[in-house]
Amino acid sequence: MPYSPVFKDHLAHPRNAGELPNANAIADETNPICCDRLRLSLVVKEGRIEAARYLAYGCPPTLVCGSVLTELISGKTIEEAKQLTRADLLNAIGGLPSRKHHAAALAIETLNSALSSVA
C-alpha cells in the first residue's frame, strides 16, 4: 500500500521535532530487533500535556509516527493520552503497510513509558 498524503507531509515537514529543556516526562525506547528508536519529552502541568517533542531514528514510519503522535497528544490530559491506541495512531497517519505496524507500536510504547514517568 502506498504511503498516504498525511504520511508524506509529516515526513517532509516533521512537527514538534527536538527536545524540551523543561520536560518533566521523558522516555527513550528502542525496538530491540530493528533498532528503531524514539525519544519523547513532555511538559505536563496539572495532569495535562502542555508540550510534546520527539526525536527518532529509523525507517520512515517511525519518523512519521513520532511526528503525528506529538500532534495527537498535545493538549490532552494524561488519562486521555493513555487511551490512545496503535489503531488510533495508524488511522491518523492514513494507514501503514502491515509490515510497518511496528513503528506505531514503538510510538505507543514510548508514550506510555513517558506518561508513567511524569515527575
Partner: protein
C-alpha cells in the same frame, strides 16, 4: 508528483535507449516468426537472433556460439552455477564464492549447500575486495567452481577477476582439469571494456536492462568446451542449454544495446565518471559525517555508495523520493526486523553505517544539473533527518 525527477538508480535498471526501443518495436511487429521454424518467417527470426548474438558476443570478445540467451541475469547465474555444478558433481562438490555476491549467486550457492555441496565464502575487507591469497588458501582438489562477481552491485568494487582467471588456468594446466570460473558481470557489462580471454573466465553473466535494453533478457557466456546441465529442458534452443522459444524482440533489443554500448563505451564511461566525481566532491564539501564505502580506485565509475551517520538509509531514500530523486539502499526494515545491507556489513563497518548507506548510480541520460539538484535535495534531507535523530551529537556553543 515532484516538480523535477532525477533518476540516480542506474545500477538497479537503466532507461531504455530510444534506438533500442525502436529496434525492438520493429522486431515485435515485423519479426514475429518462431526462430525454430523452417519457413521464411522463422528464418527471418533466426537471422535476427543470430545478429544479436554476434553483437553480444562482440561486446565481451567471445564467439557467437558461446552466448546463451536467457530471461536475465538471475536466470543466467542459476544456469551457470547449477548447470556447471550438476555437470561436474562427479569430479568434486566444492564451490568458492565471495561474501558480497548478488542474491542470484549467493542464493544458488546456499541452495546447493543444502544439497550437500560445500561452499567457501571469501571475505572482503574494508575496501570491499576479495584477496587472491584467501582464494589460493581455499582451493581444494575437489573445487569445481569459483564464482566471484566482476563488480559489486552495491559499492561497485572491482574484484581481481584477471588474477583469478590466471590461477584457474594454472590449476587446470597442472592437472585440476575440472575447475571452472564463473563471474557475474551484470554491473560491469557495457560500463567497462571486457574480454573473456583476458579475464580468463569460463562463464560470464550479463543482463540487458543494465545497459539500456528492456527487462526480460540476459545472456550467459559459456566458453567452448565447458559442460553445463541445462536447467530449462524440453527443447533444442540455445544448443540444448536453455529450452524455450526465443524472446526475439528482447534479444534484438539486447543486441542493439550491446552494439551501442561497444561503440559508445568510452564516452559513456567518461560522462558517468565525471558526474559521479562531481557528486562526491559536492557531498564531501557540504555534508559532514559521511563515509564513502568501498575502494576509492578499484571500482566502477558510475556508482557511489555513501553512509550518512546518525540517519537510516530508508528514511533518507523516501525523503529524496519525495523531491523526485531516485536512489537505492541495501538495507530494508520490514515487520520490525532490520536487514542491514550484507555487502556493507561485510566491509566490517558498524551497524549504524550499514543502516545509513545509500547507492547513487549515474547513467548516460543524467546531466550536471541533475547532479546539482540531487545534491541540494540531499543536503536538505540529511539536515532534516539529523535534526530528528537522537543519535546526532548535540553541539554545545
Amino acid at each position: 508528483m515532484p516538480a523535477r525527477r532525477v533518476y540516480l538508480d542506474n545500477s538497479a535498471t537503466t532507461p531504455v535507449d530510444p534506438r533500442v526501443a525502436a529496434a525492438m518495436a520493429r522486431a515485435v511487429v515485423e519479426v514475429f516468426g518462431n526462430a525454430s521454424s523452417v519457413h521464411g518467417f522463422g528464418q527471418q527470426a533466426r537471422a535476427a537472433v543470430d545478429r544479436a548474438r554476434r553483437e553480444v558476443a562482440a561486446l565481451i570478445g567471445a564467439r557467437q556460439n558461446e552466448i546463451v540467451f536467457t530471461s536475465g541475469g538471475t536466470e543466467a547465474n542459476n544456469l551457470a552455477i547449477r548447470g556447471l555444478c550438476e555437470a561436474s558433481a562427479v569430479h568434486g562438490r566444492h564451490i568458492i564464492t565471495s561474501a558480497i555476491e548478488h542474491p542470484s549467486v549467493s542464493g544458488v550457492c546456499a541452495e546447493l549447500e543444502k544439497r550437500g555441496w560445500e561452499v567457501t565464502r571469501l571475505p572482503v575487507y574494508e575496501n570491499g575486495i576479495v584477496r587472491v591469497e584467501d582464494l589460493l588458501a581455499s582451493l581444494r582438489p575437489d573445487t569445481v567452481l569459483i564464482t566471484i562477481m566482476l563488480a559489486n552491485n552495491e559499492i561497485g568494487t572491482l574484484q581481481p577477476t584477471r588474477e583469478i582467471g590466471s590461477i584457474v588456468r594454472e590449476r587446470r594446466a597442472t592437472g585440476q582439469k575440472h575447475l571452472s570460473f564463473h563471474t557475474d558481470a551484470v554491473q560491469a557489462t557495457g560500463r567497462l571494456p571486457l574480454n573473456v580471454d583476458e579475464l580468463g573466465c569460463d562463464l560470464l553473466t550479463m543482463s540487458g536492462h543494465k545497459l539500456y535494453a528492456p527487462k526480460g533478457v540476459g545472456a550467459l557466456y559459456v566458453r567452448r568446451g565447458v559442460r553445463l546441465h541445462g536447467q530449462n529442458v524440453g527443447g533444442h534452443q540455445e544448443r540444448e542449454r536453455r529450452a524455450g522459444t526465443e524472446n526475439v524482440p528482447g534479444i534484438v533489443a539486447f543486441g542493439e544495446a550491446a552494439q551501442l554500448a561497444r561503440e559508445e563505451i568510452e564516452q559513456r564511461s567518461r560522462h558517468d565518471r565525471a558526474l559521479r566525481d562531481r557528486f562526491e566532491a559536492a557531498v564531501r564539501e557540504r555534508i559532514t559525517d559521511v563515509v564513502m564505502n568501498g575502494d576509492r580506485e578499484r571500482r566502477l565509475g558510475h556508482l557511489s555508495n555513501i553512509s550518512f551517520r546518525f540517519i537510516e538509509g530508508e528514511g533518507l531514500l523516501i525523503n529524496l523520493d519525495l523531491e523526485g530523486v531516485a536512489v537505492s539502499t541495501g538495507s530494508a526494515c520490514s515487520s520490525g526486523t532490520l536487514e542491514p545491507s550484507p555487502v556493507i556489513r561485510a566491509l566490517g563497518v558498524d551497524d549504524e553505517l550499514a543502516r545509513g548507506s545509500i547507492r547513487f548510480s549515474f547513467g548516460k541520460e543524467n546531466t550536471e544539473d541533475d547532479v546539482d539538484y540531487a545534491v541540494e535535495v540531499l543536503v536538505r534531507a540529511v539536515e532534516r533527518l539529523r535534526a530528528l535523530s537522537p543519535l546526532t551529537p548535540v553541539v554545545v556553543t
